[in-house]
């Protein structure tokens, strides 16, 4: 790693911390890997192990079960877990915006969620589908009027015409489309080929990547409370690094086991940055209005079995700004820009196959 020379040398003094990601290592998690690589965690007195997940690992469960100390997860999924008995608290809302899109062919006539009616709409499932159900509920649509198809790991179902509109993250699947070759032209697809519906613009929008902590330990465990603030500070620095050095961050993620091509990785970091920066109240600050909107959407959405994500308001312990405020304040004192008002994304050219 790059700059660990000035870090505290004595390893034993570091507090071991496990962070559970919600998917394989990729640019989406650039800030955490950057914090690790740049030695921010070490400086904060933490020995952080970043644990990737796979198809069936539910990060908030790993946290609730005490397997890890912190977990990254989407807010709506965790709301479901909290109702099922998970005792976890959102301590930092890293992504301020939803990055979920629904992508259709430009000539398909699908311009808004209302146009989903009678169409085949792709979604990943695994709890990633709630924004879609929530947005559809607003338009009076549900699984009886819209056919929901599970997408797998790639966009082939959409490219092959099996589904009319595909769920896509701005930072990943949308890029996959732009990297693919249009068999008719032999060239890569361009943005003009698609219409894009962003859930951020619908009432279905829900909060995504947040850092979750163990509620009980937050209440009773002083060391954990202190470590939490230190952890958040390091994470923030990591994300600032990613915002300022997207190319380096992309390389760091690649070094940590991500296998995407360079241009795709860079695109991912850049688009992820866009979901974080600028952060009006400082990175990670939980906007109560946004959180309430997410709760409202989670209460309204019903999936094809008629099950709602949650049936009642989550408890007050579901989120707290206490730690992120502390972290932000301390960093601000150090003169660090925690809002990224001047943030400008770079331009990334996606190469064929994301190479």
């Amino acid at each position: 790693s790059a700059s660990s020379d000035d870090a505290p040398a004595d390893d034993d003094s570091l507090t071991p911390v496990k962070l559970q990601l919600q998917w394989l290592p990729q640019g989406q998690f650039a800030g955490y890997f950057a914090a690790l690589d740049q030695g921010y965690f070490e400086e904060a007195g933490l020995d952080v192990e970043i644990i990737p997940s796979g198809g069936d690992i539910v990060p908030q469960d790993a946290l609730a079960n005490g397997d890890v100390d912190y977990a990254i997860a989407w807010v709506p999924k965790v709301l479901g877990s909290i109702e099922a008995g998970a005792n976890v608290t959102n301590i930092a809302q890293i992504f301020q915006r939803s990055g979920t899109l629904q992508v259709a062919w430009a000539d398909s006539g699908i311009e808004s969620v209302a146009d989903f009616e009678g169409k085949k709409i792709g979604s990943w499932g695994f709890g990633n589908e709630w924004e879609i159900f929530a947005a559809m509920a607003e338009e009076g649509l549900d699984s009886t009027t819209v056919e929901i198809i599970t997408q797998d790991f790639n966009m082939n179902a959409f490219l092959s015409g099996d589904i009319d509109a595909a769920q896509a993250m701005t930072y990943n699947e949308y890029a996959q489309l732009l990297e693919a070759i249009d068999p008719e032209t032999g060239e890569q697809y361009t943005e003009e080929d698609f219409t894009v519906i962003s859930y951020e613009d619908t009432v279905g929008a829900m909060l995504q990547d947040a850092i979750w902590a163990d509620t009980e330990r937050l209440e009773n465990d002083e060391e954990y409370q202190e470590a939490t603030v230190e952890f958040l500070k390091a994470v923030i620095k990591g994300w600032i690094f990613a915002a300022e050095n997207p190319e380096d961050a992309a390389v760091i993620v690649a070094d940590n086991g991500s296998d995407w091509g360079a241009s795709h990785e860079l695109w991912m970091v850049n688009e992820t940055n866009k979901l974080i920066w600028p952060a009006a109240n400082g990175i990670g600050f939980i906007d109560q209005a946004a959180f309430d909107a997410t709760v409202a959407a989670a209460l309204s959405a019903k999936n094809e079995t008629g099950a709602a994500l949650i049936t009642e308001e989550p408890p007050a312990t579901a989120w707290t700004n206490e730690y992120i405020e502390k972290a932000l304040a301390e960093l601000e004192e150090e003169g660090i820009d925690i809002k990224g008002e001047g943030f400008t994304p770079i331009d990334v050219e996606l190469l064929e196959g994301g190479a």
Binding site: L79, G80, A86, F126, S160, D162, G306
Partner: protein, 249 residues
């Protein structure tokens, strides 16, 4: 004796389920990660309709796979038994099919046959069934006793007559053994294939969706349905096998 045979597994089941329930209720095992049998049954009751419809979707895929896989397995085995060359040609392909994990094939088949249809899943189930049916049928077709073959020659029987009078009836129990082994594989495969895309509503998709929001009692309730379907497939094919072994044609 016969009753002990029936009671023994039931006792084991009751003891295990009871211990499980007690562990969750009193033993400090969190109901969160390992839901109690009662909680699971509660979900079965609450979501009965969707359990049934999901069971029908996955069960149908498994059934189609079972039929397709059995038919192709038997047909190819007949060819392989008749022609040594075909047998040897099929050998590496069958060996590969026997070791290929569903997770590897599912995305590919979804792209080939369309993510909006059940065909990919049905093909996955049929591939899982094909292997044991082919292997067992081929073995069965080679079980014909020399004395029976000599007898048929002495009757100057036509190849067709030999096939229907001796070869097929001899092979039949083996064919059914293959189908029985394939039956529970078909259900599992059809279910697992749902994790990798395609129309929603099947058991696999609902297990993962439930688990993703920590609705574990519901997830296990769907698992329970899948076990029941798998068991039903197994028992039906077992019964068919019993009949076939006893009377053959």
């Amino acid at each position: 004796m016969q009753t002990t045979r029936v009671i023994a597994p039931i006792v084991v089941g009751v003891v295990v389920l009871g211990a499980w329930q007690l562990a969750v209720t009193f033993g400090g095992v969190s109901d969160y990660l390992l839901p109690s049998p009662a909680a699971i049954l509660g979900q079965v009751a609450d979501f009965g309709d969707s359990m049934i419809s999901a069971g029908i979707i996955t069960g149908t895929n498994a059934l189609v796979g079972l039929v397709l896989g059995s038919v192709f397995g038997i047909l190819l085995a007949l060819l392989a038994a008749a022609t040594r060359l075909i047998d040897h040609m099929a050998a590496p392909i069958v060996a590969a099919l026997a070791v290929i994990p569903i997770v590897a094939l599912a995305p590919v088949l979804n792209t080939m046959f369309g993510a909006d249809s059940q065909v990919g899943r049905q093909i996955i189930a049929s591939l899982a069934v094909f292997v044991p049916v082919f292997i067992n049928t081929l073995r069965g077709l080679r079980q014909t006793l020399p004395v029976h073959r000599d007898l048929m020659t002495s009757y100057a029987a036509t190849p067709r007559q030999v096939m229907t009078t001796v070869t097929l009836p001899t092979a039949l129990p083996f064919v059914f053994t293959g189908i029985r082994i394939g039956s529970s594989l078909a259900v599992i495969s059809a279910l697992v294939a749902e994790y990798f895309g395609g129309p929603r509503g099947g058991l696999g998709g609902l297990i993962s969706t439930s688990a993703a929001s920590s609705a574990y009692p519901r997830a296990w309730a769907y698992v329970l349905v899948s076990i029941i379907i798998g068991l039903a497939f197994y028992l039906v094919t077992l019964a068919a096998e019993r009949v076939a072994v006893r009377r053959r044609l």
